[in-house]
Amino acid sequence: MKWKAFIFWTFVFIGLLSFFYSFNIYLYKRQEELQFFIPQWPYIKSILWIPGGCCTALGQFFVQYYQNSLFASLLNSTLLCGIGIFFYLILQQIVQRTFNYLLALIPVLGLLKMHLRLNYVLDGTLGLFLMMALLFGFTLIQGKRRWLIYSVLSTLVVYSLAGQLVILYTALLFIVGCIHRFKGWQYTLLPMALGSILTYIGARFSLYIPLIEGLQPAEYHEMQLQPDSYIYYVWIRFVFVAAILLLSGYLLKHISWSKWWRKSLITVVIAIVLFDISGMCLPDPYDVQNRMADRISSLAQQKEWDAIIRMHQGKRITNYVSLNFLNMALAQKGLLGDKLFYFDQKGPKSLLADWNHTFFMSKLLSDIHFMIGDLSMSEAYAMDGLTLAKRKGSPRMMQRLVQINLIKGDKNIAEKYINLLSQMPCYKEWAEKYRGYLGHPDLMKLDNLLASKKAADPAVNDLLCLVETDSLWMMHIEETGVNKTALEYLGCSYLLAKELDKFKSLLVKIEDDSRWQKLPVHFQEAALILSIKDPSLLKSISIEPSISERFKEFQIHNKMEHPDNNQIASLYQLYGNTFWFYYYYKQLK
């Protein structure tokens, strides 16, 4: 019968792997960028010293390689599958039934749900894996004396490696002891007492948190969702479910298994329960939305601008974050001013969404401002992102800070971050490349990314609250060099806000500047609208004949005073990708 189990769990493993590799790969990358972990012994030693620190260290050790999605998926699948297998084997020790396959999948599904969440850290599953392995070992021990020694030793092992999980482990030991070995069950009281004492010591004297806090729901611990804080809420739920399943297995043991209809009925009922639970454990709309955001973020990190643009083509865009990424991608391709209105824009926040004090937005806004050349703003967001990263820092934000500080000439702080990144396996190569710029800043001129950026003129110092964003971008345009991105962002911000007076001032300012002789398409479109009131504007601005012609046609179609929805829809079909349509028909909230 073992081959059946092998085949079953192989299928489960493949299923998990396929799921994680298709759904979770972007989440893994985000989890990796939210931790600062140096895989060096002195650093690890300081973590291991704390009870539960092993799970913390091991969890972070694995997560540092999460940029490799296949590795991350394999690891997560192995852990979940392993937990399922141990649970199955424990159930088999209680009673050998086919439905144990199904029962063992229930906690796996519960953990699957947790693994979809950014806030959940791998340490939790590692602790559970350890616990289930030792619990299974317990069921194999024969003899009361060995039983007792094993349970006490394993309690100490769980405490040292997984901290406060020990109390839950000893609770399960007690349950399994009672169920599996009814005679002598009282021997499990000793490890339970030991586990309680150790947990009390840990919670009361080391962590200073009231014991009741362990029972608070996950949201209460939002910033503390790590096992070393207290007692991971996920652990409590897992053990609670495990206890119910173990007791269920024990109770079902007393039901005769000889009648086929009884077998079928029980199996079907369990299958239905499993099916219901699986519905709750699979990704919900919140997870899908997060995945979308993670995917875009990942594409942006890899500079897959075309992919981001393609993702949004022909689609209704419902949130500013997506628009920010899309417009950043357009700007990176030099197409922002030409293709902005090919997409469903929603006002000036389509370029810069509001900062919501999260790591995600800090990172996005830092990237956008860096791209435009607002180094101070970019640095501010990057520093906030570094602070907000859940696990002591973010290598991704550190990279940004290295770049900014090198450009500004702050070599000492750049070197600090480079030294830290060089100790992280996935950033070592990048760090060494940038280390070369410390000693030879002239090499930065050969770096495509850094060469185009420059620190603001110290003579023009002011506080950012006293400088409007458009003034800031205007400064970039007026600097030497060609900062097309700044021009596009500035012009497009006016167009999105329908502030044509300001846009006109911009045109007047740059009309004699040879760098901006060929204006982007939407700028020309806006100039044509302005020329209705001020025809002289067109004397100094070059408009492509095709755009002029199209505008004339638009004006003919646009003669309706109060067009109905059908008429607007028709206009949209013809001119939806122009500023004209946006200006006349887009409602700004």
């Binding site: 503390q224 804080s229 703003m377 501010a380 907000l388 702080i413 609250c465």
Partner: protein, 487 residues
């Protein structure tokens, strides 16, 4: 000559006494570069081992010696961790004298021997604990932070309170009455907001925002009697610089100085310290409790004139028996005339000197690279620019040890962003020594830490308040509403 003979005898003893001989080495003029830089610093006789490393990882041998004792350290990677017991013995023997540090460094197949450098050991001990807040130098956000106490005689560091226990709120402005750990206060902000006064382990949570004051109580200074605490109240804003060396600007839109009567549990002030036309802040009492020093700047249009606001250093008499103030305000530093701005005045416990921070403008000096420390001799009114103490980067907050022989200050000289604590000797003649970085067990600690040391304060012993109790009070106690009284 006498010293050289001693050293010669000592090295000879080392040569014959050691189980391992010293390598044959090429003599190099000059001292080896180490981190932290302990060359020529003056240290107390009860400081933790000054672990250090060579700049550049290489095999090395360090000999630390005085006339009688020596410690030999061999290192494969250039990091030297001094055993505590041996170090304490060496320090005890070296009090009032110096320790010579001689380094042998392996470069390839060759050993190089550098000139020894001295570490001077004062007779005056230092307060055994240092309290500080550890916080990321984030601009607007914070994450994990806590108030910690570190035993400076070894490497033990404990959290007095970490915000993981208090729902990730903000905590700051820990302050001690005459370096007494049994009489302290600090604030918590946002969640569990209030001022927490801890006296002999009894914790009181105070709600200190009144309608008469700008804000809840901010920068504290205990009266030496423990009966009063001077505070500022501030409306503080923060923003970023477009360019220039300073990243961030923190400024007050208004501020006043008020006083908390610990026994009567009420807030009072004086019209001279509570004006609309000036920003009064950073109050501090003299050690005899009869004088209040504070900073004040004429109000400006903020934030437009952020770089024009300059704080004077003033003082006024105070009668603790009657809670009354003098009529005359003395000016110790005239900002308009001198051209710069004062903050953080702190009088030495012996009442002889006043240490303050000076920068080109403003009041939040940790973000000003030009910020430096200055020492005012209160008797002669002479100002020492402390050239040996200051650096090219920001030196800012500081505090005295209880014997007035040491002060600790915050500095960003290492990398320009992360604040580190430096300790400086100040002898009875008013001469400051070369400061040294607070030693850590791991010589890479400061390189890898992403947290700044904030508000370093010496304390005479360990804070023993029950953290469980602190958390409990934070979360459950509604706090005592403190009224503002006009007199």
């Amino acid at each position: 000559m006498k010293n050289n003979c001693f050293l010669l005898i000592l090295y000879t003893l080392i040569l014959f006494g050691c189980k391992q001989e010293l390598p044959e080495a090429t003599r190099i003029n000059g001292v080896a570069k180490i981190f932290p830089d302990y060359n020529g610093v003056t240290i107390p006789p009860n400081i933790a081992p000054l672990n250090f490393r060579l700049k550049g990882s290489s095999e090395g041998i360090a000999i630390l010696s005085n006339k009688k004792e020596f410690i030999r350290l061999d290192s494969k990677n250039g990091t030297f961790e001094i055993p505590l017991k041996n170090w304490r013995k060496l320090l005890t023997e070296s009090a009032g004298d110096s320790i010579q540090v001689k380094l042998y460094v392996r470069k390839g197949n060759q050993w190089l021997c550098y000139d020894p450098f001295p570490i001077y050991v004062a007779n005056d001990p230092i307060d055994s604990y240092l309290a500080y807040r550890l916080i990321a130098p984030g601009y607007r956000m914070w994450n994990e932070m806590g108030i910690y106490q570190r035993c400076v005689e070894d490497f033990d560091e404990d959290a007095v309170l970490n915000n993981k226990l208090t729902n990730n709120n903000c905590m700051n402005c820990h302050s001690f009455c005459m370096q007494n750990p049994k009489r302290m206060l600090f604030h918590q902000r946002t969640t569990h907001g209030g001022t927490y006064v801890v006296i002999d382990n009894k914790i009181e949570k105070l709600n200190t925002k009144t309608k008469e004051t700008i804000s809840a109580l901010v920068y504290p200074s205990w009266h030496p009697s423990g009966k009063y605490v001077a505070f500022s109240t501030n409306e503080t804003k923060q923003d970023f610089h477009l360019s220039g060396p300073n990243r961030v600007e923190v400024f007050d839109n208004e501020s006043d100085v008020v006083f908390f009567d610990v026994e009567k549990q009420e807030i009072f002030s004086n019209p001279k310290l509570f004006t609309k036309g000036n920003y009064e802040t950073f109050p501090t009492f003299s050690p005899d409790g009869k004088r209040l020093y504070f900073c004040s700047a004429p109000a400006k249009k903020m934030p437009e004139e952020f770089d024009q606001i300059k704080y004077n250093l003033l003082s006024i008499a105070f009668d603790p028996e009657t809670r009354t103030f003098g009529n005359v305000i003395d000016t110790l530093y005239h900002a308009d005339r001198e051209g710069r701005s004062v903050k953080f005045p702190r009088v030495s416990p012996d009442g002889k000197y006043l240490l303050y921070t000076l920068s080109n403008y403003g009041n939040f000096s940790i973000w000003h690279k030009d910020a430096d420390l200055r020492m005012l001799n209160l008797a002669t009114q002479k100002v020492d620019s402390l050239q040996k103490v200051n650096s090219d980067d920001a030196e800012s907050y500081h505090s005295w040890s209880s014997n007035s022989r040491w002060f600790v200050f915050s500095s960003r000289r290492m990398d320009g962003l992360y604040t580190r604590p430096y300790i400086c000797y100040f002898d009875k003649n008013g001469v400051a020594g070369k400061p040294f970085l607070l030693p850590q067990k791991d010589t890479y600690y400061y390189d890898e830490s992403l947290l700044s040391f904030n508000i370093p304060e010496f304390i005479k012993g360990k804070i023993k308040v029950d953290t469980n109790e602190l958390v409990h009070v934070s979360k459950t106690d509604p706090g005592i509403d403190i009224p503002f009284v006009s007199r």
